[in-house]
Homo-oligomer: 335 residues x 2
Amino acid sequence: MVTLKQLAEQLNVSVSTVSKALHESEEISKDTIDRVKALAKHLNYQPNKVAISLKSNKTKTLGVIIPNILNHFFAKVLFGIEEEATKKGYDIIICISNESYTKELQSLEVLGNGSVDGFIISIAEETQIKNQIQHIESVLQQDLPVVMFDRVSDVINCDKVVIDDFGAAYEATKHLLNEGRKQIVLLSNIEELSVGKLRVNGYLKAIEEASGYKSVPILVHIRSNDDLEASIDAMYKQYPKLDGILSVDNTTGVVALHKALKKGIKVPKDLSIIGFSDENVLPFTDPKLSTISQHAPDIGKASVDVLIERIKKGKPDHFQTKTIKTNLTLRATTK
Amino acid sequence: MVTLKQLAEQLNVSVSTVSKALHESEEISKDTIDRVKALAKHLNYQPNKVAISLKSNKTKTLGVIIPNILNHFFAKVLFGIEEEATKKGYDIIICISNESYTKELQSLEVLGNGSVDGFIISIAEETQIKNQIQHIESVLQQDLPVVMFDRVSDVINCDKVVIDDFGAAYEATKHLLNEGRKQIVLLSNIEELSVGKLRVNGYLKAIEEASGYKSVPILVHIRSNDDLEASIDAMYKQYPKLDGILSVDNTTGVVALHKALKKGIKVPKDLSIIGFSDENVLPFTDPKLSTISQHAPDIGKASVDVLIERIKKGKPDHFQTKTIKTNLTLRATTK
DNA sequence: CTGAAAGCGCTAACAG
DNA sequence: CTGTTAGCGCTTTCAG
């Protein structure tokens, strides 16, 4: 890599003159600026980023900590993060916590050593279950800004980007009720997560408010160790009259649809299904699954915007929580 | 962040003494080492990574350039990369080329400024089609090592990690032939990619070698602008007698399976299907799709290992190409 | 208009 | 055993 010093030597000027010239300082003559720039271009000079970071105490790099990159939702958020960060001139360093508290902690520690200007994080399932948040507080205390998205913690005081999980589930349930469904099941494999709980609450609220709805709320939770397909078979056996399903995760809605079709249940005539699935599963459904669109890339984009603003402005009087709108996209599994 | 200088001041010793003590230098007395370490621990001293990078001219960071994070294969490779890099004490900076040559070029330029010690890259579709590779050559000329994986270029001289695409497709086709299939179609939506071409060649070779096989080879290519499901419907219409499908991408095999079942074709009695799909699609298939397992995380892991070795050893006499084994995993869509 | 010098945080040769 | 000094590449006063 060519350095300022090398340019300076070749031009018989000082390093500081070269530096100023490249920044088009008023102090430097037009002529010198031109000569410096010409040589810099010729030798393909690129300022050493590490040196600039050391000097400025800024890295122009964001730390991104994601629970699971194999989850398509997070992949899409990451896509949005990468795009927006690049647009704003930031690099991203990513760590995958793999739903582990320890990995998350280590990632924060490793990147906290001056490697990044701030963090974007969605916390691991284990962290959320244990409600262990000291590691995040400690980053915040070092004046490194943090933006939490999707899986957030109420007890941490920082900027957040979320979707209206409660409202989205509420609306979807309302839709099923308006279709005249009599027994609507909530299906979930993310019981432990904050977002899972909010979605359950939205469902419960809508059911509760429904006048003339006779069934009790039915929650079918599938745990990660359970056999997914067997559990769904069991659900159909246990609730032979169910005529509406709200799946609040990416997978269970699609499987429930396949199983229903296999059983000969008419969708959407006798059963409506709405999922929180991503479009990536649509090629695998027929009829096409109706879903709640979460606009994952927008969540990523918003997280970057909020974080960069916070990096530039410093600690505020109070932090902001941005809510990204969802859409109920009705396709062919609802009337 | 607490610095060496601060430790030195509090202990009334010099900065270099502190530095050496923390590295347990022979030069320093046991007593001093203990005192320094105690204070460092107490104040939670963390060496500033940027300063170390500047000094050592190493960042302990790898640049990873991926065409599309929404493609599950790449997400899995990234998972393997992240895991292995973390294990070896490296951070990863990721860029998503989004299949664009320009984005790829920019990423290499941005990270080439001393931000990373080397690159892991799978080239963009556009790059592969245009066969534009000057940007990668130029990185190599700066003595920044590059490891290419999956989508590699024959004309670039660097380390590579690939799977045996040709052999995998060859074996899978052989299997279909051994089942006694009479009309085997190759189905692909990745015609333009190097890996897509290799897989086609493996299929062709197996067909060619099959004595007593009457049908000509049949290649069904679906382009990104085509309607996937309509194209597959058209395939079944055009080849009513087809009894074997080798899908060489992640998606088309699953859709072909769904369509076949919908048409009432018995799988695997009257039709066998093998895909290059990832396990993530398996919950959406019934019968379960037989696939070629690509061991994507292993590709990521191997890429990291090769790159770090190259970073440490410097330019070799000749570069290595590592081939990751595939597995033909027979499930329920083959006999 | 240009240059010398200090310093970001760290390491390492060299001196004491 | 400990300290002084120089230097990684850059920016930024402050002198000239």
